[in-house]
Amino acid sequence: MMLKLGVPSKGRLMEKTFSWFGDRGVTLRKAGSEREYSGAVDGIEGIELVLLSAGEIPRELAAGRIHLGVTGSDLVREKLANWDVRVTEVALMGFGGADLIIAVPQSWVDVDTLDDLDAAAAAFRAKHGFRMRIATKYHRLVREFLRENGVADYQLVDSQGATEGVVKNETAEAIADITSTGETLRANGLKIISDGLIHPSQATLFCGRKADWNDSQRATFKALQSRLGV
């Protein structure tokens, strides 16, 4: 049995993952044509490359269908309950960095902290008759963060893309989303809450804890770790 390594199947995340491994003497590459989702590993024996959507890697790791996987730390925390008993961080890879933050309109000059957000939410609910809407696709992370910080009178509405636009469209009052430079937020008239950093995310190599590993897989993992220097 080979050790299965899941990596993102396209885009910059895939390219950067390939070069991160390449810099450490392990060559990952797509097999066959550019459009084909199967891969190969050179420079070390016993590893099978599995190309997957980054969003599916947490689930596959937790289920034990892959042994190792590269994905954003935000996705693992959002998609896996008790993530740290189901997977282990093997290496923080230093790219794909982005912060999960809460942002509100710049015109809300009275809101800079979570304390302000909470008070504004209370007043909003009293005036409009419904809870202040925060658009996000990170439901678990945002809900836990706001509960821990005692923010009430809000509701989460699902937004799977173009989240920065929902405020202008009046389908939400605030957003919780991933940002690296804040450029898109500013362009849409939004600003980041100063104590609203929910999670600083980056690409991370995870190891699943459920998969039944045999001795040769353990040996392969040891060899890989020493090659990667992690």
Partner: protein, 359 residues
Amino acid sequence: MTTAIKDEALRLTDAFVAAGAMPVETDILLPADTLLDLYGEDVRGRAYVTTDPLRGEMMLRPDFTLPIVQMHMVSRADPARYTYAGPVFRKQEYDETRANEFLQVGFEIFDGKKPCAADADVFAAISGALKGLPLRASTGDLGVLTAAVQGLRTTDACKAALTRHIWRPRRFRALLDRFGGRTPPPPSRVALLASQDPFVDAGPAVGLRSREEVEARLDVLRADAAAAPISSEELALIDGLLNVREKSPYALSALRDIAVDMPAIGPAVSTLDARLDALTKRGIDVDTLDFEASYGRTSLEYYDGFVFGFAAIDRPDLPPVATGGRYDALTAVLGQGSAVPAVGGVVRPDLCLALKGAA
């Protein structure tokens, strides 16, 4: 669900019927919007959400409170006593060993005339039904803390902010420290209030929250900044109150001492006194009954008066076997102005059985 658990549920139901309750049933699938509006986003972390193509989002019943109150709002019997038995469903995000489906047997009283007697009836009925099990009862009364907040010498806005966070101890503490001047306001707020034109960097208003709403909040912030801080004497009294944790008669006397300097809690302390009398009349030994002023503050925000729970003495791993309390504010919200004071509690027959098996 084993037959033994169902039998245990029947036994509990019989006990509540003997206490005057009428057996009722409710739906298992509940409309999600009402639950969300009532409990907030946290309920999504606890309840299973599903969708119906026509009715939209529905939730598998996380507890009986909402459907029972809604049922009562239609029947409007007064006084009214209900008992129910059925499954509830709870998502478990942290602990796989906790059940995500279990039976609850409950007893609820809607009675605006004799609240202390109703509190005591619910507690005594549940205590009686659990007799012989190795359980420790805890009690509290959120009405005392609420009254203390209302009695503070500060602005109505500060009182409202504190009252809103009675069920979030951390935010409550942070607000109290700021309103009491123990922590300074955040620098961004100081700068904002000192600014000649707070809207200089505002850009165009986007979204539903209007410029007027932002201005209204700036007025609140200015009023906050201008208000005298809550005195250190009052802060100390609140701290003292929150730390009351004794057998009931000693707790009562500790609260009476606090009431000398904080007369606003007087009526709430008298209510506690009357409730202890009512409990004694029903055969509860209040001399050994624990009272914690902070008890019930971390539950979902709907208990607002008497609160209680029964926990297994030697099994800290088990969830509480029974919990309950008064939820007048919730019925006020659901009744749209016509408040029906209510108190109730639920028992888990599966846990009763587990304790019986161990005994």
